[in-house]
Symmetry: C2
Amino acid sequence: MFIPPLAPVYRHKGSTLAHDCAAATSRLAAAPDGFARRRRATPRAPLRMRHKHHGHREHTVLEVRAPSKTYPILFYEKTCMNDVAAFAPFIKGRAVLIVTNDTVATFYLERLRHTLDNCPGVDSVEVFVMPDGEEYKNMRTLNAILDMCAQARLDRQCALVALGGGVVGDVTGFAASVYLRGVPFIQVPTTLLAMVDSAVGGKTAVNHPMGKNLIGTFYQPEAVIADMSTLNTLDDRQLSAGIAEVIKYGLIRDATFLEWCEANVPRLMARDPAALRYAAEQSCRYKADVVAADERENGLRAILNLGHTFGHAIEAGTGYGSWLHGEAVATGMAMAAEMSRRLGHLTEADVRRVEAVLTEANLPVRPPPSMTLETFLAYMASDKKVVRGKIRLVLLERLGQAVVTADYDRQVLVDTIEYYRKLYDALPRDYERRLAHLRLPTEGERDAAVAREEASSE
Amino acid sequence: MFIPPLAPVYRHKGSTLAHDCAAATSRLAAAPDGFARRRRATPRAPLRMRHKHHGHREHTVLEVRAPSKTYPILFYEKTCMNDVAAFAPFIKGRAVLIVTNDTVATFYLERLRHTLDNCPGVDSVEVFVMPDGEEYKNMRTLNAILDMCAQARLDRQCALVALGGGVVGDVTGFAASVYLRGVPFIQVPTTLLAMVDSAVGGKTAVNHPMGKNLIGTFYQPEAVIADMSTLNTLDDRQLSAGIAEVIKYGLIRDATFLEWCEANVPRLMARDPAALRYAAEQSCRYKADVVAADERENGLRAILNLGHTFGHAIEAGTGYGSWLHGEAVATGMAMAAEMSRRLGHLTEADVRRVEAVLTEANLPVRPPPSMTLETFLAYMASDKKVVRGKIRLVLLERLGQAVVTADYDRQVLVDTIEYYRKLYDALPRDYERRLAHLRLPTEGERDAAVAREEASSE
Ligand SMILES: NC(=O)c1ccc[n+]([C@@H]2O[C@H](COP(=O)([O-])OP(=O)(O)OC[C@H]3O[C@@H](n4cnc5c(N)ncnc54)[C@H](O)[C@@H]3O)[C@@H](O)[C@H]2O)c1
Ligand SMILES: NC(=O)c1ccc[n+]([C@@H]2O[C@H](COP(=O)([O-])OP(=O)(O)OC[C@H]3O[C@@H](n4cnc5c(N)ncnc54)[C@H](O)[C@@H]3O)[C@@H](O)[C@H]2O)c1
C-alpha cells in the first residue's frame, strides 16, 4: 500500500491582504508543505480568493461566480456565531427569518438570533424550526415556511437564513427563491457535507414521495458563512460522510489534493479547524470550478457523481436510512475504482489507496452482503444516468481524473459487483466486521458531541 | 369629443417571408392605413417578427428575447387547435401534460388533446383539470399538478401545456419551473388578458391568503400559441377586461396605437379575428419592449401599472369579485388621466378621449360611489408602490407617454378622488347606470358563448 509522506496542512493564518485569484494561487504554490496547486487555464475564472481580518476573527473568502450573481463563501476557523461583523454585510433588510431544525437549534440558534438582532438596520428576527430529518424536506415544510414569510409580511428587504445541514439549506433556498419570486438568503451550513457540497452550485430542492429532489429551483445565496467550529457538535458518522465528499474531489480532480487527504484525514476526524477549513475551501473551489465549466462543457458536472450510481443502488437496496448517503458514496467510489482497475485504468495499488483513505475516514468500502448482482443492476438501471439502456458511470482514468462513460464492457461491471460477493464468501466474518459501524449514533455519542461543543464555545 | 378617422387595420395577410425586426418595422411604417410605427432606438432589440404560412393556417410570429431564452409568440386568426404543425415544433418530448380548467376544457380540451397526441414522438398526453376560479390559483393546486407530474414519472423530455386564461397560465408556469428544477412549457392563452399580458414577461405565480401572486418564479415558456378563435367563447365582460389592457399600451406607449384602438374597439368587441390578432400582437410587442428595457432602465416596467393603484383600491374596497381586474384598471386609468389633467399634463379633450375609448369597450370609468376618499387612500397606501410614505403613481405626461412619480401635490390626488364624489352627488342615477353592467354573466350569455363557439369551429 502506498503511504504518502505526512505533510502539514498549509496554513492561511497571518495573512491580512485581499488577494486576487492569481496571487492566491501563487501563495498556494509556494506553500511550505509542497502541495502546489496546478492552475487550470479557464477562460473565465469562476473563483477568486481573499484573505481577511475583520475584528479578531480570521477567515478566508472564496468568490463564486454564478451566471446570475457572484457571491462569497466565507470560511471561519473559530466560531463566528457571535460576530455581527460576519453577518452584517449580507443583511440588507429590516426583517430576518432564520430557518433551522430542532437539533441544530439547541446548539446555535440563540447565539445566531442574538447576533442577527444586533445587525445594523434589523428590526425583527423570526425563527422557523423544522423537525430534524430528510423526511421533512418536503412541500409541506416549504409551505409552512412560506406561510411564515407571508404572515410576517416580509417584503423584498428581508433575508432568509438557513442554519443547518443540507436539508435545511435545500428547503430554505427553495422558499427564498419563490417567496415574492425571490428574496435574499444566506446559507450557514453546519454539516461538513453542506459546507463542501450543497452550499455550492445553487441547487435547491424538496423531496416528493415519487423521488428525491424532484422539485426545486436554481437559486444563489447572498453568501455562505461556514463556521468550522459548528462541526464540533456533528456526530462522527455525519462528519465521515462529509469527508467522503471531500475525498471525492481529490479522486475526480486533483491527485495532489488526494495526497493531502491521505495525510490529513486524522486531523479532519479530530476536527482540527485549520484542516477542516482547508478541506472545505478546496472542495468548494473544485465544485464551483466544475459547475462553472459545465456552462460551456456540457456534461462535466456529471463527474461530481463519482460513486453515486453504485451508492444509489446501495441506499435504495438497503431501504434508505441505515446507510448515510456519504457512506454509500464512499463504497460506490471504491467500487468505481475497482471497476476502473479491471478496465485497465488504475493499478492495484491505486485501488488500495482509495480504500485506505476511505477506511481511515471510517467509511465503508464494501457493499452490504445482502446486495445481490440482480439488486445492484436493477437499482442502477433505474437511476437517472441510463442512456439508451446502458448505465452511464463515472469511472477513474487515473487518480485525480474522472471520466463519464456508458462505453464499457458490461461483463466488467458484472465482474466488479460479483467480486465483492466472492470476498464475502471467502471471509464473511471479516467482511461483516468492516460494515459493523453502520448504525445510528448512540446516546453516548450525542452526549460527547454536546461536551465538545461546550468546550469549544467557551 | 375627438373622434379619429376610421382607419382599416393593417393586415399581414399574404406575406410569406421571414422578416427581421427592421424589415417588419418598415413594413408597418409603410402600412396602407398610415399607422406608422415609430422605431425606438434600443441597444438590443428584444423583438423580431416573422410572418409565416404553414399548412393552410396563416399566423404571425413575434420573437421575445428574454435574458434566459428567446421564444416565439404565435398569433393565429383561424383556429389552430386541430393543427399538429402549430404545436409539433415546440413539443420535443414524449410525454405531454395539459393543464386547464373545467370551463375551458369543455370548449377546447378534446381537440387540443387529440392534436398533441398526433405530434410526432408523443407517446402520452395526460390532462389535469382544475376548477375554474382565481381562488384555485394556490399552493394546493400547484401541489396537485406536481403530484401528477411525479406520478406520471415525467422526465425532462416532457412538456406542460397551459390551456386557459391567466390563472391556468400562472400556476402551470410555476409548476413547470420547479418540477425537476424546470421542464419545458407552452402557453395556450384563451383569454384576451392572457394573450396581451400574462403570456409575456415570464412571471409565474400563485396566490396566498395574505396576498395575490405572493409566491412564484420567473420562467419563460418554449412558445406562446395564441388562437384568436378561442375568444369567441369568452364572455363579453372578460373580453372587455382584456381590451382595457390593450388600450393601456396605447396610453402609456403609443398615441398612434391609441388612435387605432379608438377606431377599432367595435371590431374587437365583435371578435373580428384580424383586429384581435393585431391588438394582441401590438400589445405583446409593447410589453416585451418595456420588460426588456427594464433590464437596463430600472423602474420603467412600473409604467405597465397605469391605473393599477387606483384599480387595486377599487378591487379591494369592493371586496374583490364584483369588479374584474381589467374593469378596475379601466376606471383607474380614467382616474389617472383626470389627475394628470389636474397636474397640467393632459387637456380636457384628452381625458374625454380616454373615457370615450374605455366606455366604447363597455368598461367603467367611474369608481363605485361606495368608495370614500378614506377608503381610497387607505387601500392605495397599502399597495406595494408606496415609497417613503408617498404613494407612487403612474400618470400620463401626454397620451402615449406615461411617467412614474411620487412627486406630486397630494391635494391634487385628494381633489381627483373627490371629483367623482361630486359627479355622483350631482347626478346619482346617471352615475349608477354607467356601472350597472358590473355583474356576473347570466346563463343566457354563457349559452350565447357556446353557440358562437359552435359556429366558429365548423
Ligand atoms: N443542493 C445541493 O446541491 C445538495 C448537494 C448535496 C446534498 N444535498 C442535500 O443535502 C441533504 C443532506 O445534507 P446533510 O448531510 O447536511 O444532512 P442533514 O441536513 O440532515 O444533517 C445531518 C444531521 O446532522 C444534524 N446536524 C446538522 N448540523 C449539526 C451540527 N452542527 N451539530 C450537530 N448536529 C448537526 C442534522 O440535524 C441532521 O440530523 C440531502 O437532503 C441532500 O439531498 C443537496
Ligand atoms: N403572469 C403575469 O404576468 C400576469 C399578468 C396579468 C395577469 N395575471 C394573472 O392572470 C389572472 C387573470 O387572467 P384572466 O383574466 O385570463 O382570468 P382567468 O384565467 O380566470 O379567465 C377568466 C375566465 O374566463 C374563462 N375562460 C378562459 N378562456 C375562456 C374561453 N376561451 N372561453 C370561455 N371562457 C374562458 C375562465 O374559465 C375564467 O372563468 C390573474 O390571476 C392575474 O394575477 C398574470
